[in-house]
Symmetry: C2
Subunit: 248 residues, 2 copies
């Protein structure tokens, strides 16, 4: 899934990825610091993205961008949609930067945005040899980004909110073993509103898609929590019975 031999970049179409993570407290996004001097901090940061190759489809292009940045494979990916304002690349600071990296910096580029869900534990920028200028940022702290990426981010958050009400994809953001409190916080972070603890637990338990590992957290300075796993089998059963609403 690296750059393909003989493949040519299409000058008019790119993909951009909103890579969501969860630090067990807040929803985060993986951003790249372009490091250009002219731009202010906010607009210096951008989503990872690239022009597409002429022999790859859009999902493949998004997977590639994700893989080139993080080294990860088989990550949850969902399309957000196309963004194609004719002036989306025309901010001065963005133009300066494009001139440095693109053969044809003035081409109009329509981008297809994706979001992906990565267990933060699977990718720690500082420990990795990839992507020295990439890092996780809490979504709440982000107020501006390069190009139209802030807009893309907000749209991706909205899609994620919608999606999680229909499918329990949140598990893709958690380590394999997790506590109900972590899951609770994750739902609150995504939906951006508080959820009653007891009601949340009742509801998620009734779905019957969690396996209680009968294991406890170790070394926490308070009552240790039970650990759970997502049970894909039971989830698929549930879906077959025609379920379509998690509705938290």
């Amino acid at each position: 899934m690296q750059k393909k031999s003989n493949a040519v970049l299409n000058p008019n179409v790119s993909v951009d990825c909103v890579i969501f993570g969860f630090d067990l407290e807040k929803l985060t996004v993986l951003l790249i610091d372009r490091g250009d001097a002219g731009a202010e901090y906010g607009t210096r940061m951008s989503l990872p993205g690239d022009l597409i190759y002429d022999n790859e489809n859009l999902d493949e292009a998004a997977s590639r961008v994700l893989n080139e940045l993080t080294g990860l494979h088989d990550i949850y990916l969902e399309q957000v949609g196309g963004f194609g304002d004719p002036n989306r690349l025309n901010k001065e600071t963005d133009q300066a930067w494009l001139k440095a990296i693109r053969e044809k910096p003035n081409e109009r580029v329509v981008t297809i945005a994706y979001y992906s869900l990565v267990p933060s534990s699977d990718f720690q920028p500082h420990a990795s040899s990839f992507a020295k200028n990439a890092d996780w940022f809490p979504v709440h702290q982000i107020t501006d980004l390069a190009f139209d990426h802030f807009d893309i981010l907000q749209t991706a958050r909205e899609k994620l909110r919608q999606k999680i009400k229909i499918q329990p994809i949140g598990f893709n953001l958690l380590p394999e073993k997790f506590t109900l409190s972590q899951l609770h916080k994750l739902y609150e972070s995504i939906l951006d509103k508080p959820l009653d603890k007891r009601n949340f637990r009742r509801k998620i338990q009734k779905l019957n898609i969690l396996t209680n590992l009968r294991e406890k957290q170790q070394g926490v300075p308070h009552k240790p929590s039970a650990l759970y796993m997502f049970n894909e089998e039971k989830y698929l059963e549930l879906m077959q019975k025609g379920f379509d609403n998690f509705d938290f």
Copy 2:
């Protein structure tokens, strides 16, 4: 909103529109018959679409395509997403047709799909001077289309199903005055499943977004139905109170 002066077509990006209608019985789609001899009936039909101009954004391009075909303005439009398989235009019959109409028939084209909702009464192809080769087809009858348009259609139907559970956009498919039975059938057509009459009525009435016009149908050979209008004001009130689920 006609072709813009000095504007140039982008060879790599198009829009395609899934234009939904409702004949008061079934959900329909506006398709174009390319009329090419080589292709079988199904694959001869396509969604209306066009390459984008370099100075218009994606929504504008979709509105333009819709307007050029139907003459209509201010129509409900929603993006479905990007479709970009490298081989999406490579079926033989499609290639033959592209050679007849495009300057560069072999260019790779990524398309951004939209769906729109049109009250069928607002556009009758036969009565119109536009689009002599376009017509409404019941979505259920469609088994194949040109390019990847069948795939696009199915994705658009799914998006519409999702959307109507969250926002009462169905009114865009009905004439200004409509009966509860028509609304009922519309929901059944979109969700593709039967809904209990009494429960449907109770639920939609409780939302309190309909105005009873205190008028009756004329000339029907059975008990005439009361006529209703969608009340946008009350709908906006409802939304502000933080409502997000119609869930039929």
